[in-house]
Symmetry: C2
Subunit: 149 residues, 2 copies
């Protein structure tokens, strides 16, 4: 596979570090489904970019900037995931697609998605009536009734 990149690594390191406070090369390799040397190589790059601190055979830790960058990626992932779920994309597929698309979302779009998800989640009526209509529309291909929205 050729899709992984700096952002995937940051995300993986962040996730793997939860609790432990650091990541091992192996953890990252497992998380991303790549081999150890690929991780070793990438760590040099990440270090040179100031995203991680680590020395040979040691623990990988995100720097402050690394955490910031990781959170940004994870934020995109989460928001895409929420959107896809709202649109009734099955969980597993939503996960995969969110993962694949997260690198390509501009911040403007992210902002809009955030607003949309908030709009849905904060709606006083849960779930919002129109969403129920959407569910119905998905199942039957037509509106539940001609004058609801």
């Amino acid at each position: 596979m050729y899709r992984s990149s700096v952002e995937d690594y940051l995300e993986a390191i962040f996730n793997v570090s939860q609790g432990k406070g650091y990541a091992r090369i192996k953890d990252i390799a497992d998380a991303l489904n790549v081999k150890l040397p690929s991780v070793s190589k990438m760590m040099r790059k990440l270090k040179s970019k100031g995203f991680v601190s680590f020395s040979s055979y040691g623990k990988v830790k995100l720097t402050e900037n690394g955490v910031k960058a990781a959170k940004s990626v994870i934020g995109k992932h989460e928001i895409l995931l929420k959107l896809l779920k709202i649109l009734s994309v099955p969980d597993e597929i939503a996960q995969r697609d969110a993962c694949a698309m997260e690198h390509h979302l501009s911040s403007v779009t992210v902002d809009q998605l955030v607003k949309f998800v908030k709009f849905v989640e904060d709606n006083p009526v849960k779930p919002p009536k129109w969403l129920k209509h959407f569910d119905h529309f998905c199942k039957f291909g037509e509106y539940p009734c001609r004058d609801k929205e």
Copy 2:
């Protein structure tokens, strides 16, 4: 840039061929913002995959399979574009983001997006009430009124 790939080329060839019925290497290069040799090289690949027919210094034409593949990419692009526009992402940014994400959408997700867009577009009330509420929510950060959806 490193993001272009077979799918981008197919899309570009399809678009450029509209009307003329074929594409020149230069057209494609301009459309994708790459140099001529990059296109030459990719054409060999596309030809070997059976997506285009073309011979040196000649015209590039999509094969039947090429057209099919191109249309699939373009479909994804369009549906993403529509979704982003519904969510009030500015046109230019929606274009760029749709382009960047189109390669990563699974067909299941595409199906859902198609349904969602259809749900919005076919709604008897135009624009749907909830969408107007969303607009309001975007502008003011709150619902227009406590009992509408």
